[in-house]
């Protein structure tokens, strides 16, 4: 599936793609085709030249925060995943805990962090939290791709547990850990920018909000463009690592073995114990820290708020669910379709690759006026944002998955003279099913968070809007109640996707 000329596809076509993109942008900017908040590239370049010093310092600050926070989150994710490798029975409780922590919207954590010693590190903390979950999940799955035969070899040769980990499990997990690194890049950068909104002296996020309010579109887009470039650079580095890991350690399309089942009783106990422990910790923190209600409510106050506004919350939850799940579904289809196109038509792939990378790394706040300008403000824009954000993990993992084949199967298809399409339909797509299912699980865990932030920024309704209105009125119990509903929905979405994965994998033959 290689195009005739490597240089053409690797260098010329992406440049052509970028040129086409910029040409269209210039046209849209000068004619205000997409509304007046899209400045032409020339205006953005002017801002880059004029504000070079400010933007450079902002870029350094944000990159450093994203790098530090992202690497810490990534490292913690690797450690947690390693724990699941050493103690397979810890997989379920650990993954459940990270699902739960991941489901807590960071916009709800920010105000709490602002009153404490962690305040200067909010961007780093957000960057870390943004990558923790996907890293833990993907790497933990990676550890479980170790074959039984490999394990047997290590046992009969008397390997110690450490030897088995270092020489067998870690190398097997590396390709997926590298995938997680790729997913982590835009997540860490967006996390850092979001964190900067909670108050930072400099940074791309700060420049963006300030420029937006002061109608400095050129500067706003310049900051956004830099964000994209930083993402692209880090992403390219991560991709190099992923490629090298795959080449060296092999990606055989081995399905992760099943998570060791806990007894139904123990699973139930853990399922209740983890959230309960978090709630108890929260109660203790409020009580012992004498945290005032304006910073954080007590669990019972949130329960009361849940009861008071049950109908409002239910209606809002319905709307959010529609955006989240609909966005997930459409995003998944778009991501898969794009990955398929990219696999089938290498030259188009080369042209599209910059665009496919750009879309998820553009901070959503910059896109809102654009999408709003095109689609109108309200639910449709929320939905479009959900699609845009959900498509990325699907695209990344589908692309990796489509490259995974059982050993020797490519030769089999060559022998029978199978063409590109046949190879895709009968070999690559089926072989990529496990990767796709992991991607759907990752996206499902995040789809409610995306819907929540989109609604928060521009929704007419939904939990994000309810959260926003109650937050502004300093109704902390009420806003946390909306958050609590979102957390439950997130966890349910993840559990649903996990169940779907299990069922489909059983049929797939794993």
């Amino acid at each position: 599936m290689r195009s005739p000329s490597g240089a053409l596809s690797r260098i010329v076509l992406p440049i052509a793609g970028v040129v086409v993109l910029i040409a269209f942008w210039q046209l849209a900017g000068t004619t205000q085709l997409l509304g007046r908040s899209v400045p032409p590239p020339t205006e953005v370049l002017a801002a880059l030249a004029e504000r070079g010093d400010v933007l450079w310092r902002a870029t350094l600050a944000t990159s450093q925060r994203a790098l530090v926070g992202g690497l810490i989150g990534y490292a913690i994710g690797l450690v947690l995943a390693s724990i699941t490798a050493w103690f397979p029975r810890s997989t379920t409780p650990l993954v459940r805990t990270t699902v739960l922590i991941n489901a807590i919207p960071i916009v709800a954590i920010g105000p709490v962090l602002m009153t404490g010693a962690a305040r200067p590190f909010i961007p780093e903390i957000f960057a870390a939290l943004s990558v923790l979950f996907s890293t833990t999940l993907a790497t933990s799955d990676g550890f479980r791709t170790v074959s039984r035969a490999g394990r047997d070899v290590f046992r009969v040769f008397g390997a110690t547990r450490l030897q088995r980990f270092v020489r067998l499990e870690a190398p097997s997990a590396l390709p997926m850990a590298a995938d997680a690194l790729r997913l982590a890049v835009p997540a860490a950068i967006l996390g850092a920018i979001l964190g900067e909104w909670f108050g930072a002296e400099r940074g791309l996020g700060v420049v963006m909000v300030s420029s937006m309010r002061n109608v400095q579109y050129g500067q706003l887009w310049a900051a956004a463009l830099i964000t994209v470039l930083v993402s692209v650079v880090f992403y390219a580095l991560a991709t190099l690592l992923e490629k090298s890991a795959t080449r060296r350690f092999g990606r055989t399309g081995e399905t992760p073995s099943a998570v060791p089942a806990l007894s139904r009783g123990l699973a139930t106990v853990i399922g209740i114990a983890i959230p309960l422990a978090l709630v108890v910790a929260w109660q203790l923190w409020v009580l012992l820290g004498r945290v005032p209600l304006i910073v954080a409510p007590q669990p019972l106050q949130v329960v009361a708020a849940l009861g008071d506004g049950a109908l409002d919350l239910l209606a809002a939850a319905g709307l959010t669910t529609l955006s989240a799940l609909g966005g997930l579904l459409c995003g998944a289809l778009v991501g898969l379709a794009l990955a398929v196109v990219v696999t089938l038509v290498p030259w188009l792939a080369s042209m599209l690759s910059p665009l496919a990378l750009v879309i998820p790394t553009v901070p959503i706040v910059v896109f809102i006026p654009v999408i709003g300008g095109m689609l109108g403000y309200g639910m449709q824009t929320v939905f479009a944002s959900c699609v845009l954000m959900a498509f990325f993990p699907l695209y990344v993992l589908a692309l990796s998955g489509l490259r995974a084949r059982p050993l020797g199967s490519d030769d089999l298809f060559s022998v029978y003279g199978a063409g590109r399409v046949k190879r895709l339909v009968r070999l690559a797509l089926p072989a990529s099913v496990p990767s796709l299912l992991v991607a759907i699980r990752l996206a499902a865990a995040n789809c409610f968070l995306i819907a929540l932030s989109a609604e928060w920024l521009m929704g007419e309704g939904g939990l994000g809007r309810v959260f926003s209105e109650r937050r502004v009125m300093l109704d902390t119990a009420g806003s946390w109640a909306a958050v609590a509903v979102a957390i439950v929905l997130s966890v349910l979405a993840y559990a649903g996707a996990a169940l779907l994965e299990k069922k489909l994998l059983a049929r797939w033959g794993a």
């Binding site: 008397g158 030897q163 067998l168 060296r248």
Partner: protein, 270 residues
């Protein structure tokens, strides 16, 4: 003292479709330095017996002694070598690194000369730096065998090491393996479903019944070590192969999956 002894071993597995009796009161003894081959129909539990001997599975009942010790203790002392059905090579390591792996796992210094000679012995002298994916199936199996021998194990377990190979390659590897094992003199247990392979390599051949596996037939092979290809044409060889094939067929017909009519001639215990 026995090199390897499974005594009264039973093993059940619980699967989705119910409980499977893999082994029932299975007893097998291999003398020190002896080579025993175990034959049996598919799914008779012969691989399970080998896994139990290797300490990879534990028996529900019965005792297992390997080189006078428990499998776990033998494994810990690096005295066990196993060649697996699928070669189980680490795809990211070169041929040489795969063969060296047992040294690393046992925490012993790598004996480079021995690694080199074993790689040469299995005919891969030119492929030390290659990755498994670059090798043919037969070559990978030879790497796996070199790896199983590298620590000069006191007990060697071979689980259908050539099961997936074509007849020609298999014959050639059998000859090579026979030559290698004559040099090593480990206590060896081979699990296979090829009668010729069993008779060609082993001092003694054991035939198992269908599930649950028990010993049905135990025959000494009337040839000394250092067999050449000419043995394959020896009438004694052919008649022993015929007898054992018949014993296997009988079992196949009993379990309903047999190909042809069987003439049972069981009962000649050695």
């Amino acid at each position: 003292m026995h090199g390897l002894e499974l005594s009264g071993v039973s093993k059940r597995f619980t699967t989705r479709s119910g409980v499977v009796h893999a082994l029932d009161d299975f007893t097998l003894a291999v003398e020190d330095g002896e080579f025993v081959a175990v034959l049996g129909p598919s799914g008779c539990g012969k691989s399970t017996a080998l896994r139990i001997a290797a300490g990879l599975d534990t028996a529900d009942s019965g005792t297992v002694t390997v080189a006078g010790d428990s499998p776990e203790r033998l494994v810990a002392s690096g005295g066990l070598g196993v060649a697996f059905q699928d070669n189980a090579l680490l795809p990211w390591l070169s041929v040489r690194a795969n063969v060296e792996l047992p040294y690393k796992l046992a925490g012993r210094p790598v004996d480079r000369a021995r690694v080199d000679s074993l790689i040469a012995l299995v005919g891969l002298a030119d492929f030390g730096g290659a990755k498994p994916a670059q090798l043919s199936g037969g070559m990978r199996q030879r790497v796996s065998i070199a790896r199983s021998l590298v620590l000069s194990p006191r007990v060697l377990l071979l689980d259908e090491p050539f099961g997936a190979l074509d007849a020609v390659t298999r014959h050639r590897l059998n000859v090579e393996l026979g030559r290698i094992l004559d040099e090593e003199r480990s206590t060896s247990l081979l699990v296979t479903h090829s009668v010729e392979e069993a008779v060609f390599l082993a001092d003694r051949v054991v035939v198992m019944t269908g599930r649950p596996g028990r010993v049905k037939l135990d025959v000494a092979v009337p040839f000394g070590r250092g067999r050449s290809k000419s043995v394959l044409q020896d009438p004694a060889f052919l008649s022993l192969v015929g007898e054992l094939t018949a014993a296997l067929d009988a079992d196949d017909s009993e379990t309903g999956s047999g190909a042809g009519p069987g003439t049972s001639s069981a009962g000649t215990a050695a």
